[in-house]
Subunit: 191 residues, 4 copies
């Protein structure tokens, strides 16, 4: 089964998720600067989620590049990841509209953890399909960054009830770590 | 007429339908766990419809893979299927917001039945175009699963007025049957 | 300049327009059959506009198939057509929510007339680029159907103030005429 | 890294932005001509933003045509541009619903300035990757138009507080200048 249409569908869904998040940026009521003030937490959440979806799209882009083929399992593992990503607009708005309250911050972390877990499942499905000695397996290595992100997100969920700003700091830090380009797949592509 | 752009348009519409369904997951009002409670039926409906649209996309993906060409009839049969699929966000929300009441459950079944009927029409249009001896016809076989799903959905509509949970169970069961990958087209592709 | 990305962008915009129209099908308030009743005019408008956008996508699909190249003028003529098509969700909802009142029916006709005029401009831009003897020009012929549709839509605007059902009948009739597949481009493609 | 999927993702996001802007054109309340009157400023803003997003898509289309390859930096520079473009629906609606009040007009200019700055960053990232002697660098030249647009948008922000119509005139003028097709990249493509 060719990977072309899976890539196209994934790009389509990612493009739509990243754009419909902006629908939760409501038009400010009023026409002066004070009307913009209550929008700041929502805007910051939008920035964070835009970067997170961008990171996933970027990683999927690079990963599928080293992939030779897909099967039904990979296809559903990919749809499973897109499912949790598709909840990001609503969890983002929940966190923003409640000005980083504890429960919404924990729910946002839960969604990020489920995305990271779904990503790990997709990686495993591709690994099984391509085998230990494939270019894909070599590029992936031990996937420390992926597993560490998942652990950080899981830790952030209960920490939100201690102090939600610890959790928010974790979300920002993990995003920054991923913004540094993932050179693993790039190195294999260049060879 | 090439099949490439029909595939691209179908992928685009499926990607948008699957993502705009999330717009009906309203941001919970309130910032504690109790605010999330009334969202559960809506969330479960979203999961079910996400899987249903995923199944259709998956099946269309595999089916068009064995197809050699399309004509105007196929194109409109495909648009007809996309029409009933495009109603899934609104029928999903109708069922979720009314906590699986009888009429909304029946309406959701009607939409599923119309999707299944439109899929059967598309299959017939492709069958006529490619002939009895084509790779497409051999891959399709008797299409028992497709016809059985249609019958199950039609039965679920009146059953919703006996007990709506019977109908919901039918929707879940049919989805589970399709989640098992359709090996018919895959077998032909591998040959 | 290659035509591939213009096709892809056009498909994308058409796929989005055809799907966001469904956002105006509000979830019925109430859980019985009576809740569905006020939705009927909106639903019928949605069906009509779905078919209209489907016809445009179908025609653009066939037309770009016989086209060799595009330039800046074609690109903007295409965006101009997409602009008027993008207004179809809002004019559709305006007509449906007001149960086919005169002004909304006239406004819907105005949008259809502007789409048809934009289509004529796009055809002219492609004609100028490819010349009289091109496969495109031969396929197009005199474009009687396009010009007659434009005339019918322009006539429907004032007729809405005589009796709006005359205009609605015109919209349905023109759509039915186009649903009969346009064999002009198909004939050239087959040769 | 191939440029194909970056183009596809960019086209997807641009197609979605250009279409969801129409969601802010609310269905008029009432069924006569007076119901349409308050929609005019919103409609005019929609026209302006549709043209602006169209110009960016057109420019990105032409620019990526002369590009040989992309890297992680280009990918994120492109996402950065898409981020500010994705705010255009909300800044457009803010300006339209407040009938071109000063603060919304300034905010719209800020968004346009940030888009233009992001475009300049993307151009720089592509320039660095391809080198001084590349077809890309020759096509780009001094990029006077890009830098002049950025300067005009920056000037328009404070000018909105003197008289907002000066700023609106600047937005319209810059759009008209770009509507004249950018022959730089076209010239290189033809050679």
């Amino acid at each position: 089964m060719g990977k072309g249409r899976v890539e196209a569908f994934t790009d389509g869904v990612a493009a739509i998720i990243i754009t419909i998040m902006v629908l939760d940026l409501k038009v400010p009521e009023g026409e002066d600067f004070y009307a913009l003030l209550p929008q700041w937490p929502i805007f910051l959440c939008y920035v964070l989620s835009f970067i997170n979806v961008g990171i996933y799209w970027n990683n999927l882009h690079n990963m599928f590049h080293t992939v030779q083929r897909v099967d039904g399992g990979v296809l559903w593992a990919n749809l499973h990841l897109l499912f949790w990503l598709s909840l990001m607009p609503v969890t983002t708005a929940f966190m923003g509209e409640n000005h980083f309250a504890r429960v919404p911050v924990a729910v946002y972390g839960l969604d990020l953890a489920l995305c990271a877990a779904a990503y790990a499942i997709l990686v495993t499905a591709l690994h099984r399909l391509h085998g230990q000695d494939s270019a894909f397996a070599r590029a992936l290595g031990s996937d420390f960054k992926g597993r560490a992100s998942l652990a950080a997100y899981i830790a952030a969920i209960p920490l939100a009830f201690v102090n939600q700003w610890i959790s928010v700091a974790i979300y920002v830090l993990v995003a920054l770590v991923w913004l540094v380009p993932d050179t693993r797949f790039a190195r294999v592509i260049e060879k």
